[in-house]
């Protein structure tokens, strides 16, 4: 296996996609400005040059058409990688996502196979306002038939995209746009990260922070800060949201007996509720305090930087919650 070297988060998308195209003749990429422009975030830079326009296809601005293209192509033997530029645009194609892609196999009594990978961008922090900053993973995690992953590091990006593309089911890869330039070690070779497996990214005994995507970084910053006050936080990066690694969550909670669930999505109705509910179902007797949740407040994402900063969960708010939870404050 070749050496690992540093790649950016977004560079890992391109490398993973190339790997998939090399490994699978039936894989192709489709989306708005993915080919000629290499993706507006640079996710597919170099792919047109290397694989030609049969394997990477620019589409019209037609999200429902794009997802339908993926569904039809997948059901008939191809392995599409479909790009939905911003997750917010799912509103334009939720029917093909929820009623076709997610349900076709079941409605057909198992006779169809839908190996589609959907790559999309979530999150705020770059002042793109209400329609380009959302974290809507709760919508798709509620839909039987779909899988959803949300990597936090370049390493996970590559491994999860490769796993998603090898999966015979629709898998959403929810990326984060404020993480694009984050760097990390990524092996050159092909590798998988199993869908459905969380990862302890920091061990600790006092409190568990359950989180995913960019908030893992905020949790790490929070843990560093908490360590200064002698609080030893364990951080669980879910990586997969559907299926969710409940066992890993519960194991950590049983150890620390305190838990804060953190996501960038709006708190009300976000995945945090599901996670909290599962934790108390499975580890009720281990809990020394209520499960705390950190999420965005109940408003659209505001434009103005001062408001957006006040809006998006961050290390500081995690520290606050943990401190409150442990009764240290």
């Amino acid at each position: 296996m070749a050496e690992a070297r540093e790649l950016t988060y977004i560079g890992a998308v391109a490398e993973a996609t190339k790997t998939v195209l090399q490994e699978q003749d039936n894989a192709f990429v489709a989306g708005e400005d993915v080919a000629g422009a290499g993706g507006v975030f640079g996710s597919y830079r170099g792919i047109l040059e290397e694989f030609g326009d049969r394997r990477i296809v620019d589409t019209p601005i037609s999200e429902e058409g794009i997802i339908g293209l993926g569904v039809g192509a997948a059901a008939t033997g191809l392995r599409p990688i479909v790009d939905i530029m911003f997750m917010d645009f799912m509103g334009e194609c939720m029917d093909e996502i929820a009623n076709q892609m997610a349900k076709m196999r079941y409605m057909f009594g198992g006779s169809a196979k839908l190996p589609i990978t959907i790559i999309t961008m979530s999150g705020g922090g770059i002042n793109m306002a209400a329609q380009h900053s959302q974290s809507l993973e709760a919508w798709i995690c509620h839909l039987p038939g779909l899988k959803v992953v949300a990597p936090s590091t370049p390493y996970d990006v590559k491994g999860l995209i490769i796993s998603a593309a090898r999966d015979d089911n629709p898998v959403f890869v929810v990326l984060n746009k404020l993480s694009l330039r984050n760097r990390g070690d990524v092996p050159e070779a092909s590798y998988e990260i199993p869908v459905g497996e969380a990862k302890v990214v920091r061990e600790g005994g006092d409190v568990t922070i359950v989180t995913y995507s960019r908030m893992v970084g905020e949790a790490i910053a929070a843990a560093d800060k908490l360590a200064e006050s002698g609080i030893d936080a364990e951080i669980l990066d879910l990586r997969s949201l559907q299926p969710m690694d409940t066992a890993a969550i519960v194991a950590s909670v049983k150890k620390t007996q305190h838990v804060v669930v953190v996501h960038e999505a709006v708190r009300f109705g976000g995945l945090g509720g599901e996670i909290a509910a599962q934790i108390q179902e499975e580890a009720f007797d281990y809990l020394d305090a209520p499960i705390a949740r950190v999420g965005a407040p109940f408003s659209p994402v505001p434009f103005s930087p001062v408001l957006e900063q006040a809006y998006i969960p961050n290390a500081e708010r995690i520290v606050e919650e943990v401190t409150k939870l442990l009764g240290v404050a």
Partner: protein, 321 residues
């Protein structure tokens, strides 16, 4: 035109199979034996018959809520179809889909669909797949006049024309979307007029005339296989039963006279007259075919009724591969 006797009889058989299946399914529904909603295809048989006579199992179709006719014409077996409508384990979808989702991948049938307008984008995907594999096939997407107002149709049509995909957009214009007449859902008379806006040919076809449908389809398929891209065929037709079930909700959104006018042009009736004129099928032979098909349909019903219900334990199977 390769419309030899064999083809004519083939189209005829497909149409009779649809008519008989649907008529009996309607009766079973009225007898309370079929759960859920049943959208019957009676009256529109020339469309499915004339088109499907061109297709093999390697050609893909997407269908609609009114999908039995398409599946039958594509080769669907009565037994497995009735079993599905009855919600039995032996149905095409193991009872999980029912009428609105009946499908068969082996026959190239990507499902009936409960969502109006959901099919065209999927057919475009199937056509993309055909082109990608350089296969000598086509995809056909069936949709109604009402469905032509969904954005999904628009996006699919544009993409198909852009990529010059081998796909036929077949609008079965039966004059109504549920209980709303075409004049109350769009300000045009011919849905085919939309084709020019995508850069594809649009043709109006007499959807009660199986031969006309067959021929228009031949031209569109030829074009598709030459790499020239999609076509829009608008088949003017009529449904003889109500929107859902046989008598529906009993609304008076269309007149008895209108129905009677269209019934004079019953696609099977006029086709049989034509076949008789051509000396291809006598009245007696036609009768024999109808009887044979009816017997097959009854056998299908028996199969369904004798079939077991799905095991409740299968509930969570088939969600994921």
């Amino acid at each position: 035109m390769d419309l030899n006797n064999e083809t004519l009889l083939d189209i005829h058989l497909r149409m009779v199979r649809i008519r008989t299946f649907e008529t009996e399914a309607g009766k079973m529904a009225e007898a309370g034996k079929i759960p859920g909603a049943l959208h019957l295809y009676v009256g529109q048989e020339a469309v499915a018959g004339g088109i499907m006579a061109h297709l093999s199992n390697d050609d893909w179709i997407t269908s609609t809520h009114r999908g039995h006719g398409h599946l039958i014409a594509k080769g669907g077996e009565f037994g497995k179809m009735f079993a599905e409508l009855y919600g039995r384990a032996t149905g095409y979808c193991k009872g999980k889909g029912g009428s609105m989702h009946i499908s068969n991948m082996q026959l190239g049938m990507l499902g009936a669909n409960g969502i109006v307008g959901a099919g065209p984008p999927i057919a475009v995907g199937a056509a993309f797949s055909i082109k990608y594999r350089n296969a000598p096939n086509v995809a056909v997407t069936f949709f109604g006049d009402g469905a032509s107002n969904e954005g999904s149709f628009h996006e699919a049509a544009n993409m198909a024309a852009l990529y010059k995909l081998p796909v036929l957009f077949v609008c079965e214009n039966n004059g109504y979307g549920e209980y709303t007449a075409q004049a109350n859902h769009q300000a045009i008379v011919d849905v085919a007029d939309r084709a020019a806006g995508y850069g594809m040919p649009g043709v109006v076809v007499d959807g009660m005339d199986a031969i006309a449908v067959y021929e228009a389809t031949a031209a569109a398929i030829e074009r598709a296989k030459e790499g020239l891209g999609p076509s829009l065929l608008e088949c003017k037709t009529y449904r003889f039963f109500d929107h859902v079930g046989v008598r529906g909700m009993g609304l008076s959104y269309r007149t008895d006279d209108e129905l009677a006018e269209w019934q004079k042009r019953d696609p099977i009736l006029i086709f049989e007259v034509r076949l008789a004129e051509l000396g291809v099928l006598s009245e007696a032979q036609a009768k024999e075919i109808h009887e044979k098909v009816l017997a097959d349909v009854k056998e299908g019903i028996e199969f369904a009724e004798a079939s077991p219900m799905p095991n409740p334990d299968s509930l969570l199977e088939d969600v994921y591969a």
